[in-house]
Symmetry: C2
């Protein structure tokens, strides 16, 4: 499979890219060998995560950003629209069609929707792998747009180099919106639908939150699994010295788009100059290593179990004869001997 | 630790319950032994997941449901408010205080907020363990309220016996809200804030979606990790024969609450009669077994690595000398010999 894909993907062949992504999504057993060959050629793309609550107009914003980047900078751009929800609502497909109409015909733009077909960890891993494919294929900017507003979407978006959090008027003054908890990961805030009433109130709410020191606590989220609150300076700067902007756009009218593209460029330059880029790359790779390790270990253990083992164990769990924790200990003693617990 | 906790928790001692939950949250190494002792006494509580987009008024609704259950049925009730976001926005704490005022003084009500302090998998596992504690302590109804609207919140909520999805006017007619993808897991829909304009439109949108057959595809999500679309009958019934109701409430005015409590009771009876309860319990326990296995395997492997192994490996990853996938294979060969891959 490597011979079929490695050279064409590295040459930027769109059909090879699209087909390899399909293999990634289907978890084809040979895909990891191809990705390992592509790996030395990755690490060049700038990854831009875009997230925010439903209804903020993220997709329209991303479309306009892509058009602006293409018009002003002539860089090649890929978009991964991650919809970690059911495939049968049709949202992803609808979104794709709208997009295709607006951006089709440009060979330097590649768009792909990814819907969850399994568990969350699987989707995050697949997104990581699709990023590798697009990166190796030479796309200079890769937007990773996540549809929801929950923890999983945050997890996916925060692995990007630059994280854009999109808000809209009418959400920002609600405690619930603050609770949605995507504020701490933002490098750039965009208040979209800025032609609607209440926009100044939303902007003011975001700026107040930044000044309350939330931004300074942010890097703790980025750089470790354990989240802790740091007593940083009360400023709109994060710990690496980046001044987090709050920008207004009206994506449907194409207003305010240039300023967002400019902020992305400034943030990219900042990441390079401050050394922050290396930190984020490192965090990203360690996370990826751990989830890959998890998947591999579980797969190998499950392969050792007799065919009806899980069925019988489940019956005992249902009867409350054994707890899940105790069942795991028992399973490891029986089917992975020599693996002593360190507890 | 078992002697300190097992008897008091089984007797329903609130202070013991609260302290044990804190140990669960802090991942105290001895907590699993206590949970294993409690496990035979679990499985009696009815678990009710409540989820929906930010701003739909889930917390107010849950408060009113608790009050209604207490007034009408005299059952003991626990609420786990899961906020899988940053602890420093203060949302969880604020929510708790509002609740304490409204429900305090009733010894048969127990409320606990849980915020994510680690990764998502960690939170889901902690919620599972807290449910065990509350179940063993004899709480008859346990509400699991999740704040966000993303995949992770869905994952947590869908392990419940009865899943309530909360919408509000002004969200339901938006494609984005449909994309948020929490519709397929609902056993009961509640359109809250029904005193606001647009409520009939939201109700109609939900009913149309149900009739389009989304509901019939639902059980596929519930009963397996791989999601598939089934060609069920175009009806508002799920595959087990449950008629999914769309109810209207105005939680702040305490309107429509009785009908929701009644629907929960009907669904509970349906789960017992149809055999669906056993299916859901089985799915829940298998999921729990797998995540427990994952955590245990990774922990054991990491304990075998030399102190600076991960640092050196990360440097090679950053230099793109080795891919995460290849690194995992290398790690397993070096530090877990005899564990052959089945690929």
């Amino acid at each position: 499979m490597s011979s079929t894909f490695v050279e064409p993907v590295l040459a930027g062949d769109r059909r090879a890219v699209a087909r390899l992504i399909t293999y990634v999504e289907n978890q084809h057993p040979k895909v990891q060998a191809v990705l390992s060959e592509l790996y030395p050629h990755t690490g060049r793309a700038h990854l831009i995560g875009v997230t925010g609550s439903p209804g903020t107009g993220k997709s329209s914003l991303v479309n306009k950003l892509v058009k602006q980047v293409r018009a002003a900078q002539d860089k090649s751009v890929a978009v991964i629209a991650v919809d970690p929800t059911s495939p049968f609502t049709g949202g992803a497909i609808l979104g794709d069609r709208v997009r295709m109409r607006e951006l089709s015909g440009d060979p330097q733009v590649f768009i792909r929707s990814m819907a969850s077909r399994g568990n969350l960890g699987g989707l995050a891993r697949a997104v990581d792998d699709v990023i590798k494919v697009l990166d190796a294929a030479g796309f200079e900017l890769i937007f990773i747009e996540t549809v929801g507003a929950g923890q999983s979407e945050v997890e996916i978006a925060k692995t990007a180099h630059t994280v854009i959090v999109v808000e809209a008027p009418g959400l920002g003054d609600d405690v619930q919106a603050i609770k949605a908890g995507i504020l701490e990961i933002a490098d750039i805030f965009v208040v979209n639908k800025a032609d609607r009433p209440g926009v100044e109130r939303t902007v003011a709410a975001l700026q107040t939150m930044l000044q309350l020191g939330h931004a300074s606590a942010k890097r703790v989220l980025h750089h470790g699994q354990l989240l802790s609150v740091s007593d940083g300076p009360a400023a709109t700067e994060d710990l690496s010295g980046w001044q987090i902007p709050v920008l207004k756009t009206a994506a449907l009218k194409a207003e305010g788009i240039e300023a967002v593209v400019e902020a992305i460029d400034r943030h990219r330059a900042h990441l390079h100059q401050s050394g922050e880029l290396l930190d984020r790359t490192r965090t990203r790779l360690i996370d990826e290593l751990k989830s890959s390790l998890q998947a591999e270990l579980v797969q190998r253990l499950l392969a050792k179990l007799p065919p009806d083992y899980l069925t019988r164990l489940t019956a005992r769990l249902v009867e409350r004869e054994v707890s899940p924790y105790a069942a795991v200990q028992e399973m490891l003693v029986a089917y992975w001997p020599g693996v002593e617990s360190k507890k």
